[in-house]
């Protein structure tokens, strides 16, 4: 009998705490995020808002913990090519998704514009660790998958070019050394590339 009454007491206690919880609504004191526009502007000014393709590639290679790469392009573009480890999430899903604290979010699109807009939306929503890939997939393809460095380099510039070439090979890219006097690509190919960029 003592056990039965103890169980009843616990049930009543739990139920009342549950009813009070429904009345209290949200356990968070203040959930409306305030937008610090000045801080956003500062991050843009100091270029703390984006990563370059090379930086992102190093993060992936070095297995930066809690890195999430989000591709905001459509599924056909994603299927054709995407940055390794990226997940596809349309921009309207990105702004609704909740991220875990400690996660580093990198957004990218075809060029840079859409990802930059998504960056602003996420920042105004209160996410802090958000970046966008500056030049989008195009930059990734140009800088990581097909990097071109002048053949005659020395010192630090040589080391940097070698490091980028090694990084490129890690991702299965084809680094090339070119004679800087010769134009890299034909005008037609360059235009086609820019046209394909979109946002």
């Amino acid at each position: 009998m003592i056990r039965a009454s103890a169980v009843r007491l616990l049930a009543i206690g739990a139920t009342s705490l549950g009813v009070l919880a429904a009345v209290a609504g949200s356990p968070r004191k203040d959930s409306s995020p305030s937008i610090d526009v000045a801080a956003l502007a500062r991050d843009v000014q100091t270029e703390a808002d984006h990563v370059t393709a090379i930086e992102l590639a190093r993060w992936i290679r070095d297995r930066k913990p809690n890195l999430r790469i989000i591709d905001i392009r459509d599924s056909a573009e994603f299927a054709r090519y995407h940055v390794p480890q990226a997940e596809r999430l349309p921009i309207e899903e990105v702004v609704k998704a909740s991220f875990n604290p400690g996660e580093t979010i990198v957004l990218y699109s075809g060029g840079g514009a859409h990802a930059a807009q998504a960056w602003v939306l996420l920042r105004t929503r209160g996410e802090k660790n958000v970046f966008f890939l500056r030049g989008g997939v195009s930059e990734w393809l140009d800088e990581v998958m097909n990097p071109q460095a002048p053949a005659h380099l020395s010192g630090q510039a040589r080391d940097e070019a070698d490091s980028v070439a090694a990084l490129s090979r890690y991702f299965g890219g084809v680094p090339r050394q070119v004679d800087s006097a010769v134009p890299i690509q034909s005008f037609k190919a360059a235009t086609a590339r820019v046209r394909g960029r979109g946002c």
């Binding site: 919880a21 429904a22 949200s26 356990p27 004191k29 899903e93 909740s98 991220f99």
Partner: protein
């Protein structure tokens, strides 16, 4: 260990491992003491003979849920720092079905299989070996599974988001579900005890 103590820097990594060990020992102890190391007891719930598992689970869920809610409300716990696992609808549905089949056949789940193995039950050892072999095989073939594994991703997705209600409403709903389930479980157990003694 994950949030909140480790996240807020209260513990060093070593201290958090020590705490995790202590919590693990405590968890194992209570699982064993509540009879969860026995496959017979666990299988009992599928035959509606013994609903201890259901009752223990819901007691734990309600206690932890009310604690988290009210500690967050009082400002003691920063709910934003608590890790919430992400949702992948189809792969998790498939995993859940597979898990359920395994649970019903072996009468053990991952935690209880470790407890059963530790108390020397052969079936517990078999389930533990099987479980880790499964993990290994999945790891080996992960590239083939990756597409499915990462499909229908919803990110961090919780019941308040799904139903567009406050967290407190979900808390009440789960409490009522638990308390109601408890009553029903006792009723079912009584009835089953009645029929088996006839």
């Amino acid at each position: 260990m994950i949030a909140p103590f480790f996240e807020s820097g209260l513990f060093s990594e070593t201290a958090s491992l020590a705490v995790a060990l202590l919590i693990g020992i405590g968890f194992g102890w209570f699982l064993e003491r509540s009879g969860m190391g026995s496959a017979r007891k666990l299988a009992g719930q599928f035959y509606l003979r013994d609903l201890t598992v259901f009752k223990v689970m819901f007691t734990a869920i309600i206690t932890a849920m009310l604690g988290v809610f009210w500690l967050g409300w009082a400002g003691v716990l920063d709910l934003d720092r608590i890790f919430v696992p992400e949702t992948w609808i189809l792969p998790q549905l498939a995993g859940g079905i597979l898990f359920g089949i395994g649970f019903a056949i072996s009468g053990l789940c991952p935690g209880t299989s470790c407890v059963a193995a530790a108390t020397g039950r052969i079936d517990g050892v078999a389930v533990v070996v099987g479980m880790f072999s499964g993990v290994l095989v999945t790891g080996l073939f992960f590239t083939k599974l990756a597409n499915f594994y990462l499909s229908t991703a919803r990110g961090v997705f919780t019941l308040p988001q799904l139903f567009h209600v406050d967290q407190g409403v979900i808390v009440l709903a789960v409490v009522l579900l638990g308390v109601g389930g408890f009553q029903l479980a006792e009723l079912i157990e009584k009835r089953s005890a009645g029929t088996s003694s006839e």
